[in-house]
Amino acid sequence: MKILVTVKRVPDPEQKVKIKDNALDLSGMNFVVNPFDEYAVEAALRLTEKAGTTERLGEVVVLGVGPKDMTQQIRSCLAMGADRAILIEGNDDDLDSEQVARVVTAVYEQEKPDLVLMGKQTVDGDNNQVPQLVAGYLKLPQATFACSLDLAADQKSLLAAREIDGGTENKRVPLPAVASVDLRIVLPQSVKNNVTDASHAYPEGPRYASLKGIMKAKRKPLEQKSAADLGIKDLAPRVQPGPGDEARRATPAPSRYQSGVCGRANAEAHRRSEGLLGLTPNVNAFTVPAPRSAHERGDKHGQRSIGRGAQRR
């Protein structure tokens, strides 16, 4: 089983963004792995391991498109446990969905993985186009917005539960296929591979890179290539914003099914909306919700009660 996982770097969502010339000012910005891509790495690792052992049942290849110093984010995926990585060099500003999809398609042709696993979207542009485009170009079956994945024992197909308006849709796709993952893929029992005990519960969320994983990551292969190496002329954007694009942005009318979970940009915000998702920290001896500062809770500093009343926590 070989899984190609795509990874993009995005400005740290916890950082204050700066706007310059009607665009994000990326200089001096902290970058992190796009959270949904991090979930895809976690899902790929769960599919290719026997939990509780160090046994690997397959290979996870991380594919990144971005500038040279994106190796930092790629190494962090290797530190989580991915086996090797490929970085196709390109500028953050240039990457549009079409170009990235072409790159993924070309790498697919070289690597021939059994599964392409992607985050459903990146939290910078929120385009949500690349997985669908890749599946289209490769004429592969697709399962987007997967909130659970179940690999068949014969490894020939994948049962995906897809987040759709109003619920989930179960879909079995033959492999090779393209799947994109949604937030709930990192719940404790969202990924099954028919090797790890079905009752096994993972800690919620993508795994933390262990010290050993980080030490090993620097010795794992990281291949750096240019788009030209893949037979792609350049990565200049194919879609250019036209005059007045800014002014045309408007809030879409709410969907009939909009729950407040679907369609929001910030994956971290999703992950912390434990009230909606029923998520609780997993290593917690007490049932204490995830930490939120008073600020996030919207408390007015001056109006706080300092009693031990039920309204606290």
């Binding site: 262990s210 010290l211 980080i214």
Partner: protein, 388 residues
């Protein structure tokens, strides 16, 4: 501290690998540990549920390259301590003891049998260790200890009491120091299930409440010869362990200070009085600047110390200087932060007062502030001001 506030670009002094380690521990502490910690702090209990996740991260004995350790640098070790103490000094204390005061001496001074018996399980978090040096009547002056190791056929019999022992009540193994028949101090590796050893949890603490502090009482406790730490030269061995731990503390308290400072800065910028954020008042700005200034100095001091330690050149005096400076700095920053937070600063929705109370212990343990003053004083003048 956020990047844009890193005016001296201290971040550049940290390598990629160390940064990744730091960030991984930071994320763990923030997302997994802190919510649990605050609740445990309230109840005065140690969060045992965090031991296994910390072991899986590789936080116990991380500088060892064998017996299951990850083999990270001294700087990485320091940064791990910083991130743990950003959460709570109790959590950092647990790891300091496990790594610097138990795994380190068993690895450095232990027999192969002791290493095989304890190191893999301590590193994997299956066993918890503690370090028994301090006694009820001998804190700053450990050389005066009364615990005896009487020689008998094939072993020793220990009698005496060790107090203020972090992890003491929950430990599976204790590294204990006692005076032998010749009056020399010797180290022992003791399974805490050994008959004759009883343990008591100490209660009533107003500091390090999320840490298990205990008392070890040895009453005719027989230990075989194999329990002796063979390679250690008595008190010197004990002090070399403390050097490891103090190095970690010099880094750790920077984490506590950063937690307090970040909280106070956020608060000052959003708390409005007299029609403006209190961060706009000169008195508050001064508090913030003094805190920031002191933190950056402490960061640079500890980074330099890590560099020296990596080269094997960090002298005990240099470590004393850093422990002394940085703990006092952190306590000061915590008090200023608590002050800026006003009434909100006294509730545990905010971390400042918890850190402040913890740091009172950190100032006292591992060589009190005053003792470190006298160690540095002795080094400067050549005159010991504290010898018995």
């Amino acid at each position: 501290m956020r990047n844009e506030l890193d005016f001296l670009q201290v971040e550049d002094m940290i390598g990629d690998e160390e940064r990744m380690i730091r960030d991984s521990v930071r994320a763990f502490v923030k997302e997994q540990a802190l919510p649990t910690l605050v609740e445990h702090y309230r109840r005065g209990t140690f969060p045992r549920s965090l031991i296994q996740p910390m072991a899986e991260l590789g936080l116990f004995g991380p500088t060892l390259a064998d017996y299951g350790g990850a083999g990270v640098s001294e700087l990485a070790y320091g940064l791990i301590m910083q991130e743990l103490e950003r959460g709570d000094s109790g959590l950092r204390s647990f790891c300091s003891v496990q790594s610097s005061l138990v795994i380190y001496p068993i690895h450095r001074f232990g027999s192969e049998q002791q290493r095989q018996r304890w190191l893999p399980s301590l590193i994997a978090g299956e066993a918890v260790g503690c370090f028994g040096l301090t006694e009820p009547d001998f804190g700053s002056n450990p050389a005066g200890m009364r615990t005896r190791a009487r020689r008998v056929a094939d072993g020793y019999v220990l009698d005496g009491t060790k107090r203020w022992i972090t992890n003491g009540s929950i430990a599976d193994v204790a590294v204990v120091f006692a005076r032998n028949d010749e009056g020399e101090i010797q180290g022992f590796v003791v399974d805490t299930q050994t008959p004759g050893l009883t343990r008591r949890e100490m209660s009533g603490k107003l500091s390090l409440r999320a840490s298990a502090t205990g008392e070890l009482i040895f009453d005719e406790c027989y230990l075989p010869d194999s329990a002796l730490l063979p390679k250690g030269d008595g008190l010197k061995a004990a002090l070399s362990c403390l050097n490891q731990a103090r190095f970690g503390i010099a880094f750790g308290v920077v984490g506590a200070a950063l937690a307090c400072f970040d909280e106070a800065l956020d608060y000052a910028k959003t708390r409005v009085q007299f029609g403006q954020p209190i961060a706009g008042f000169q008195l508050v700005q001064q508090e913030l600047v003094e805190s920031y200034n002191a933190i950056v100095q402490a960061q640079l001091l500890s980074l330099r110390l890590a560099e020296l330690k990596g080269r094997g050149q960090a002298s005990p005096v240099a470590i004393s200087l850093a422990k002394r400076n940085n703990v006092a700095m952190a306590l000061d920053v915590a008090r200023r932060a608590r002050d800026i937070l006003g009434a909100n600063g006294i509730v545990d929705d905010y971390g400042a007062m918890r850190h402040m109370c913890n740091l009172e212990s950190v100032k006292t343990y591992e060589g009190t502030h005053n003792i470190h003053t006298l160690i540095v004083g002795q080094a400067l003048t050549g005159i010991a001001a504290f010898s018995a």
